[in-house]
């Protein structure tokens, strides 16, 4: 309604007077003049005629009015658009092909732009997101591993007062559980300092966000819900505000629900997306530990540079380091990092490559439209010549042709933008961990502006060459009789250049796609060293927050018994074939880096290996073969000390000189890190290597296996553990019975949803794997589209020229030309330009190969390039030949009859 009114108002300001208004006024003048003429003695009919001759027709008066107020160009353009639409309707085949060629290109480009906008330009919903920094400590000895530093409340307040800081946010995450309902449910809580509402500046969907007043009286028991949690747990109930949620047996009042776009704090998958947000003051009351602290984010004041902020904050953080030296490495420096950076590195790379792909596709689509317009233009020359002859200027003809091109491109853009809404989601589905969880793909003003500009640009780009060319012909030469040539049309074929370019670009895309697909296939066929099929990981978190339950499982023995009891219960579920315990030992990325010594030596350079804490059934569950020696037994598992199993990589790297079995190693770092961890009596003492197992991927699917030490999981016990369950079929089908089995041990033992998935899923989540899959699927689709476009281009050019030259071919056949020769004449130009395109493309690709290989992070194989070239050559040959066949199908007699 408002929009309509606005349009009406705008229209009124452009043309204030209506059609009838103008006409009525004119009619009055006409009548008055006519009456005067009658009074002067003219007969009525004569007076009427003279009035109209002198003053004009009432019907055309509105045109005069619009011309007078400068709307003529507008009207003419409107006419051109209508004419263009009519021309399209008359040629539905041409229109469909041209519009679709562009819709593909514009849709893909818009999708990629909206993805880039959502993921890189505007990924966070927070106010002043570009000023929010992640304060990172760079350990100068290990600069690749950025560290975060926690702050105490007092330090946090110091930070708040620092000059370059607008406001800091403190947060801390905790695994908790929803109690008081039926089955216990795992929940990921984020404690936020109470300034969170103002810091984020995100308007809650319902209720309110945390406010400074929530910190009063030791913190109010209130909770703000994440959108997804609200959907999952409350089914999106709008009346949830004011209700009570029981978390870890304590009641919290629900005060707000955040919108869908708010998913704090998913930073590059380091921590999960929070389910509920709680006031940080409660955290200090709940765990009265002096060092329990906040992880900070810092929002800088506007116009503070990163360097200035770093140098201003460095002395403050150094002061913190003096207070808590144990939290900082020996040599470090502070490096504030904009929160977008972790995503920019990986995602920026991926998106740039994909954008290059879609731009190529768009160029191919534009070239296709140009080719079609040029080919069709031969049929329209007659019409244009007539228009020229009756007085249309060249500019008028060019404008008409350009408007038609823009009509095509805008129609394509409308379809493309509609399609891009879905297209933009594909990369997110294929590689979800590469993008910020909070980036929401939507068609917004910048994206729309982008696509409108793109459509106009495309229309002019592909319309200009045909328009200039077609408008050039002088009418004198064109008019006398339609040019139904017995002689071949003028040899200048601008479209042959376009075809060659189109084919070359298509080959580039195809070669890229075949490289991507090949390297992805290599990746999937790489031996993993373990069998991920039908294995599921189930994570559980022990009840560390509840003092009663904690005291029950605090001791190492009790905890082992508890875990073993659950393991046995899971094993007894019908269908479950093997169950093993592992703590953070789920491939393809498993274990924690630790340094160790072999045979009591103390190397200056400490060797490193992955330490995996697992149960003895781990190797059977994952089908990792035993190469030498044996695996530990149940008693050794309970004791946890004195034994170790290593992988093949470890044996060859560190024990190459002698037999691995019987050698001793010590892991000095194997001690409890906090009060929730517990270690065996002699966890750091010497351990004998009793077995060597095969290499299973532990550093990502594409990276070589790193040396690993397998220890009984009882050596160091964390407050959580995972079970690896092998089943005969899809393991998720057994999840319900397994949950029941776990609940039969402890009715309130929840399983952790975030840590429960199949091992195949774990592979799919691998960054390199999902990236390669994304590339191979998308570039596969791009190149298939490009191939289709190029073939349609060739096909239509040949088909058009054959249709135009029917007579010529008839004459040739009648004079006895061999059919093969006629076929060659019909297809020659297209074939030659396609061949030229392939040659250019091959040269271009070998030149670009090195660049591409670097960007794709995989080798650019000559084999796949040749395969792509052969495929392209064959299909181009067919696309030429199929329409060219019509040239020899013309019965000579019939062709001659036209003459």
């Amino acid at each position: 309604m408002n929009l309509l009114a606005a349009i009406r108002k705008l229209w009124h300001s452009i043309a204030p007077r209506t059609h009838s208004d103008v006409e009525e006024e004119f009619r009055f003048t006409l009548d008055a003049y006519q009456e005067d003429l009658i009074r002067q003695g003219l007969p009525e009919e004569e007076a009427r005629r003279k009035a109209r001759i002198d003053l004009g027709q009432p019907a055309t008066q509105n045109e005069t009015y619009r011309e007078a107020i400068g709307l003529r160009l507008f009207d003419e353009l409107g006419g051109d658009v209508r004419y263009g639409l009519r021309a399209l309707r008359r040629n539905p085949g041409f229109a469909a092909v041209a519009v679709l060629s562009l819709a593909l290109g514009i849709g893909a480009t818009t999708a990629m732009f909206s993805l880039i906008y959502a993921a890189l330009l505007h990924p966070f919903p927070y106010a002043g997101a570009d000023r929010i920094m992640n304060p990172i400590i760079i350990d100068e000895q290990h600069p690749d591993e950025p560290l975060w530093f926690p702050l105490s409340k007092a330090q946090f307040d110091d930070l708040r007062l620092a000059a370059p800081v607008d406001s800091p946010l403190g947060f801390n995450n905790a695994h908790m559980e929803i109690t008081g309902g039926g089955l216990p449910e795992d929940v990921w809580s984020v404690y936020l300092t109470e300034n969170a509402g103002a810091f984020f500046g995100v308007h809650p969907l319902l209720g309110r966000n945390l406010e400074p007043s929530d910190a009063e009286n030791g913190g109010h028991s209130v909770v703000v819900l994440n959108y997804r949690f609200w959907q999952r747990h409350f089914g999106g109930d709008p009346d949830v505000i004011g209700r009570t949620l029981e978390i870890d047996h304590a009641p919290y009042t629900i005060i707000g629900v955040m919108p869908r776009s708010f998913a704090f704090n998913d930073i590059n998958g380091i921590s999960g997306v929070g389910d509920v947000y709680l006031p940080a003051t409660l955290m200090r009351g709940l765990f009265n530990v002096p060092y329990l602290a906040y992880i900070p984010w810092i929002k800088l004041r506007p116009h503070v540079t990163l360097a200035a902020a770093n140098s201003a904050l460095d002395p403050i953080v150094r002061q913190f380091a003096q207070q808590h030296p144990e939290r900082f490495p020996d040599h470090w420096h502070l490096a504030l990092q904009p929160i977008i950076v972790p995503f920019q590195q990986e995602t920026g790379h991926t998106l740039t490559l994909l954008l290059a792909g879609v731009v190529l596709l768009l160029i191919i689509g534009c070239a296709n439209c140009s080719i079609l317009l040029l080919a069709r233009g031969r049929a329209r020359q007659h019409e244009l010549a007539i228009r020229g002859a009756i007085g249309a200027s060249r500019w008028r003809l060019v404008r008409q042709l350009l408007v038609e091109a823009v009509v095509i491109s805008c129609t394509g853009a409308v379809l493309g933008v509609a399609a891009s809404y879905w297209l933009a989601r594909i990369p997110l589905l294929l590689s979800p961990d590469s993008f910020p969880a909070e980036s929401v793909i939507r068609i917004n003003a910048p994206v729309l502006a982008f696509s409108v500009a793109l459509a106009l640009l495309c229309g002019i780009l592909f319309g200009l060459a045909p328009a200039l060319r077609l408008s050039r012909h002088d009418s004198a030469r064109m008019l006398p009789g339609r040019q139904i040539g017995v002689v071949a049309a003028p040899a200048k074929h601008r479209w042959s250049v376009l075809i060659a370019a189109q084919i070359a670009l298509t080959l580039l895309l195809m070669a890229t796609a075949s490289t991507a697909i090949r390297s992805f296939l290599v990746l999937t066929q790489m031996p993993l060293g373990y069998d991920p099929a039908n294995v599921m990981k189930i994570g559980i978190t022990l009840h560390v927050r509840d003092p009663n339950e904690w005291s029950r499982i605090q001791s190492r023995e009790a905890r082992t018994a508890y875990i073993e009891q659950i393991r046995e219960k899971i094993a007894s579920v019908p269908g479950v074939s093997t169950v093993a315990v592992g703590t953070d030992a789920t491939p393809p990325y498993s274990g924690a880096e630790n340094s160790f010594n072999i045979d009591r030596t103390h190397d200056r350079e400490q060797p490193q290996a992955r330490v995996m804490l697992v149960g003895p059934g781990y190797f059977a569950a994952l089908r990792i073969p035993l190469l030498q020696g044996r695996i530990w037994n149940t008693d050794e598992n309970t004791r946890g000390d004195f034994i170790a199993v290593v992988n093949h990589a470890f044996a060859t790297r560190y024990l190459s000189s002698s037999n691995a079995l019987g050698r001793q190693l010590r892991i000095p770092g194997l001690t409890p890190r906090n009060r929730y961890q517990v270690a065996s009596a002699q966890s750091t003492a010497a351990r004998e290597i009793i077995g060597v197992v095969g290499d299973a991927r532990n550093d990502g699917v594409d990276r070589p296996v790193v040396p690993a030490i397998y220890l009984p999981y009882t050596a160091v016990m964390l407050p959580y553990v995972q079970f690896l369950v092998r089943t005969p079929g899809d393991p998720l089908a057994y999840l319900h019975s397994i949950r029941g089995a776990i609940a039969s041990v402890a009715s309130d033992q929840q399983i952790s949803n975030a840590a429960t998935f199949t091992l195949n899923e774990a592979i799919e989540r691998d960054a390199q794997y999902s990236r390669q899959r994304l590339f191979s699927i998308l570039f596969g689709v791009f190149s298939a589209m490009a191939l289709a476009l190029a073939l349609v281009g060739i096909f239509s050019v040949v088909a058009y020229s054959v249709a135009q030259r029917t007579t010529e071919f008839g004459v040739r056949l009648a004079l006895g030309a061999p059919r093969a020769h006629v076929l060659w004449v019909a297809a020659r130009i297209a074939l030659v330009s396609a061949a030229a395109g392939i040659v250019i493309g091959l040269a271009f690709d070998s030149f670009l190969g090195a660049v591409l290989a670097h960007w794709m992070q995989s080798a650019f194989a000559a084999g796949s390039l040749v395969a792509a070239a052969v495929l392209l050559a064959l299909s181009a040959f067919l696309a030429c030949l199929l329409p060219a066949r019509h040239a020899i199908a013309v019965p000579p007699a019939e062709a001659l009859r036209y003459e």
Partner: protein
Amino acid sequence: MTKPVELPQGTLEMLILKAVSLGPLHGYGILLRIQQISGERLEILQGSFYTAIYRLEHRGWIKGEWGESENNRRARFYSLTAAGTRHLKAETAKWTDMAAVVAGILDRKADEI
């Protein structure tokens, strides 16, 4: 009847402004008044007459309002706006200056140059 005069480019608008400045008139009335003032010597190109009126109205120099004509028909009456008054004054001054200069040059005798 004296010899008809052809109107130079752009002067029609000035004449319309002048005609309207004497009081609101409808389109046909403007036409009649111009002819009457000029002593029937001006042949106004009928086609361009309304074009000029529309343009003047669009620029805001005259304002059209519907009213009742002398023979009780609905007619659109135009009157001069404030901007129109200023414009007419400026144009008149310009025209007089130009006419004086041109006339001055044309009137010179050979010995005066």
